[in-house]
């Protein structure tokens, strides 16, 4: 069995790397196809044609695409992502700071929201169709359906402006220690938790309900096990695949999709960084950030697949 697991996992990792390569090519082609011109967007409305021509030449936009792809890929593998066209900053350096911030925020939000969602999901199943189930459903549905920025404003006005418990923005300064950082991201974490909770909670509920009618659950119930025990240790393991997939989707969102929350709380993460550079057509940065986002998805999806396989003994031993 352990051999099989190792084989499966290594297969998936190899596949993941191939996917990443394919994604890098797609991202490269995509960035070449983006409408608009980096020189024009850097210099903006006040650009004269001479200034534009000068900048274009300086940025080396005149070389053939294929050779640019390979030299980019070669450098990227060695960890050299080049410098930003717009402000000449080292991309690896700016990116690692931003990525660190993003991962920190995502991790904190995940630590709060995933257990909470699963516990709420289990509770909803346990008290199915009774008032706790309905309460949990209504509240989580309401929070998920309110646009993120409204949640952000409301939390900000309550916590920062009215109560003055926390600073209204989550600006991170280098001299901050761990506690300061946690304090800085407290409000975004609350908002992000509201945003991702419902999806994971409802999938937990639905997936467990789906297996609750199976014969073995009845057996467990007949054995006289407590209702919660049946749900948590007999039904849930067999419902893990859809739950893991939804958790991974939400983790991916927490890493690549929090632009709005970043903007509202002025948190220096990856989302805004990518949007800024896309709108300036700063191709090297867009490629580097795109590659990281692609890697995040591929790692998460691969992990979800592996967990799903491991969780289902019948899948591990295909006939």
């Amino acid at each position: 069995m352990s051999f099989l697991v190792v084989k499966l996992v290594s297969q998936r990792i190899a596949l993941g790397l191939m996917l990443l390569l394919a994604a890098s090519a797609l991202i490269f082609v995509g960035t070449q196809m983006l409408p608009g011109d980096v020189a024009q967007t850097i210099l903006g409305q006040t650009a004269t044609p001479e200034a534009l021509a000068n900048l274009r030449a300086e940025l080396g936009l005149n070389e053939p695409a294929l050779s640019r792809y390979f030299s980019w890929l070669g450098n990227a593998i060695q960890g050299d992502l080049g410098t930003a066209l717009t402000n000449g900053k080292d991309i690896a350096e700016s990116l690692s700071g931003r990525l660190g911030n993003t991962l920190f925020l995502a991790a904190c939000a995940a630590v709060v929201s995933i257990p909470l969602a699963i516990i709420l999901g289990l509770l909803a199943v346990r008290f199915r169709n009774r008032w706790p189930d309905k309460m949990i459903s209504a509240v989580t549905l309401a929070t998920i359906s309110i646009p993120e920025f409204i949640l952000g404003y409301l939390v900000m006005y309550l916590v920062a402006v009215k109560l003055r418990w926390l600073p209204s923005v989550s600006i991170v300064r280098p001299e901050m220690d761990f506690i300061d950082r946690i304090e800085a991201i407290a409000m975004p974490v609350i908002v992000l938790t509201f945003v991702v909770l419902a999806h994971m909670m409802r999938m937990t509920r639905a997936a467990i309900l789906n297996v609750m009618e199976s014969a073995y659950i009845e057996t467990a119930e007949l054995k006289g096990l407590s209702a919660f025990r049946v749900i948590a240790s007999h039904a849930m393991p067999n419902a893990i695949a859809p739950i893991v997939n939804v958790v991974m989707l939400n983790l991916a969102y927490l890493i690549v999709g929090v632009v709005v929350v970043e903007v509202v709380f002025v948190y220096p993460g990856m989302g805004q960084y990518l949007v800024d550079h896309v709108s300036k057509r700063d191709v090297p940065v867009v490629q580097a950030a795109g590659l990281i986002f692609a890697a995040v998805y591929i790692v998460l999806n691969t992990t979800a697949d592996i967990i799903a396989i491991l969780a289902n003994p019948r899948l591990r031993h295909p006939k």
Partner: protein
């Protein structure tokens, strides 16, 4: 503060003739410094910064880099609140050769943040970097008329191809911040002669500064430290001020300004500026090549309603010209165009337009509230029987893909210190940013004539004629001039509104103090 500086009136500075006399009256002589308290950390939250920004003055474009430049660097001269000039890194200016040659005496005893002393050579190099053939500077356009430059001791001399009585005004452009060796070594290093020294530069996030101990002018830079936070979201920026996290914010949203100012510790300062929120038509592209159609659209826009609803009253109506009373030599006898549906219908019928939808390209990237303004325009045009169709464009890439490319779109101009510059960059037939494709030999001739005109009254008259011509023939629909709305804590003292830019034309950190 600077308001009380002993300066000649605006009038005395406008004409070329009086520019001869600049040297006598100007200087950083202040009377109110005694009142200014020193110390504290001044924190601003600003809209208009991206993680792509650089401190290179040549590439500065956003509100945030503009304010950062004002904090760490200086130009040769500045425009004062009343439209005159004040000396900064230049100690005096002398025109010669009928305004074709200009001598700038460079101030002595000024230090850069790296300890180097400012020389006339640094000035020359700076101007070279902004005007040589490799330049990608935002100031390249205004440097075009320069034929040669030279240095003799502490005198920096500019020779122009044609006389220009406004050259000292051009030198106030914020891109032309003086850098050591002109910034050739490291343009984005953030080293200048300004009152605050850059200590942190995180584009799109924050900039921090400390007071530069060797700053030459005691009347400025009262704070010990200064910080700029980039907060692009309007509500978050307001919250930062309301929660006391920052001392000042720019671009307060007009609709909520009154609600926002209810908090007792906050005040709102409004400034009549030169910026205008506009719709531009390419006068050489059908159907906008038809003067009657252009006039029909100009009559079909309800300017008062726009000022009321889009600007919440924080602005004034436009008159289809880029010039308003905030400019020197403004001709106030030009008749205000009124909202007139009958005339709109009449011109529309006369234009013979086939009734197909007239597409207006719009995005809130053009100006805040552009979509709202376009929706209002669409409704009032509909009342005149003009079929206006709105096309929402991506905010992303608006200035490169839509503006100056689509024949009818929303746009914004921030204005320029003097009329000559505004007309030259936006309406001269050969101008790069002639966004109405306006081509009038008569207009071009008048512009050149006014530039070399010595007599102030005659210049005013010519500018008036040009304004009328653009209003009548041009492709500009100018419904409104916006006010700058800045918000700050009550204890920020020394505020003086400046028509050329928000937050005291960028000098709020230099000129205010905590009471």
């Amino acid at each position: 503060m600077s308001k009380m500086k002993s300066q000649p009136s605006r009038r005395a500075f406008l004409g070329y003739a009086s520019a001869l006399g600049i040297a006598a009256a100007l200087g950083p002589v202040s009377m109110a410094e005694a009142a200014a308290k020193k110390g504290g950390t001044f924190v601003m939250a600003l809209k208009g910064g991206e993680s792509t920004n650089t401190l290179d003055p040549a590439l500065s474009l956003s509100h945030v880099t503009y304010q950062a430049l004002r904090a760490y660097s200086e130009t040769l001269l500045n425009v004062t609140e009343d439209g005159g000039l004040e000396y900064r890194l230049a100690e005096s200016v002398e025109p010669a050769n009928g305004g074709q040659t200009w001598h700038f005496k460079i101030r002595s005893g000024v230090k850069f943040h790296n300890g180097q002393e400012l020389t006339a050579m640094d000035v020359l190099k700076t101007m070279e970097r902004h005007s040589n053939e490799d330049s990608k500077s935002g100031a390249l356009g205004i440097m075009k008329g320069i034929e040669s430059m030279s240095v003799d001791g502490d005198i920096f001399t500019v020779n122009l191809t044609t006389p220009n009585s406004d050259l000292p005004y051009l030198m106030t452009d914020y891109h032309l911040a003086i850098q050591p060796n002109g910034g050739f070594d490291d343009p984005a290093a953030g080293i200048g002669t300004g009152p605050y020294k850059v200590t942190a530069n995180e584009p799109g996030v924050r900039y921090s500064f400390e007071k530069f101990a060797d700053y030459w002018d005691d009347s400025r830079g009262h704070y010990d430290a200064h910080e700029i936070l980039v907060i692009n979201d309007d509500t978050s920026r307001a919250a930062a001020l309301q929660s006391g996290q920052v001392h000042a914010v720019n671009l307060v949203s007009p609709k909520t300004a009154k609600l926002f100012a209810r908090a007792p510790h906050i005040k709102i300062e409004t400034t009549d500026g030169k910026g205008h929120y506009i719709f531009v038509m390419h006068t050489d592209t059908a159907p906008f090549d038809n003067k009657d159609l252009r006039l029909a659209l100009k009559y079909a826009i309800n300017r008062e309603e726009m000022v009321d609803k889009v600007l919440a009253g924080y602005g004034s109506v436009g008159n289809d010209s880029p010039i308003n009373a905030a400019y020197p030599l403004f001709d106030d006898t030009i008749e205000q165009r009124q909202f007139d549906l009958d005339k709109a219908r009449e011109h529309y019928a006369k234009s013979g337009h086939d009734g197909s939808p007239i597409v207006l390209h719009v995005s809130d990237a053009a100006f805040a509230g552009a979509l709202d303004a376009a929706a209002l325009f669409q409704q009032s045009a509909k009342a005149a029987g003009i079929p206006l169709e709105l096309k929402r464009e991506p905010a992303d890439g608006y200035w490169s893909e839509v503006w100056n490319k689509k024949p009818f779109c929303a746009s914004y101009w921030g204005g320029r210190p003097v009329q000559d510059q505004m007309w030259s960059v936006g309406y001269l037939s050969t101008a790069d940013w002639n966004d109405t494709n306006f081509n009038s030999p008569e207009f071009d001739a008048m512009l050149l004539e006014a530039r070399a005109e010595l007599d102030e009254a005659k210049r005013r008259e010519t500018y008036g004629k040009m304004g009328r011509l653009v209003r009548e023939e041009g492709g500009l629909i100018n419904p409104m001039f916006n006010q700058f709305i800045d918000g700050m804590q009550q204890d920020v003292t020394g505020w003086v509104s400046h028509p050329n830019g928000n937050l005291m034309n960028g000098f709020i950190a230099s000129k205010t103090w905590f009471e």
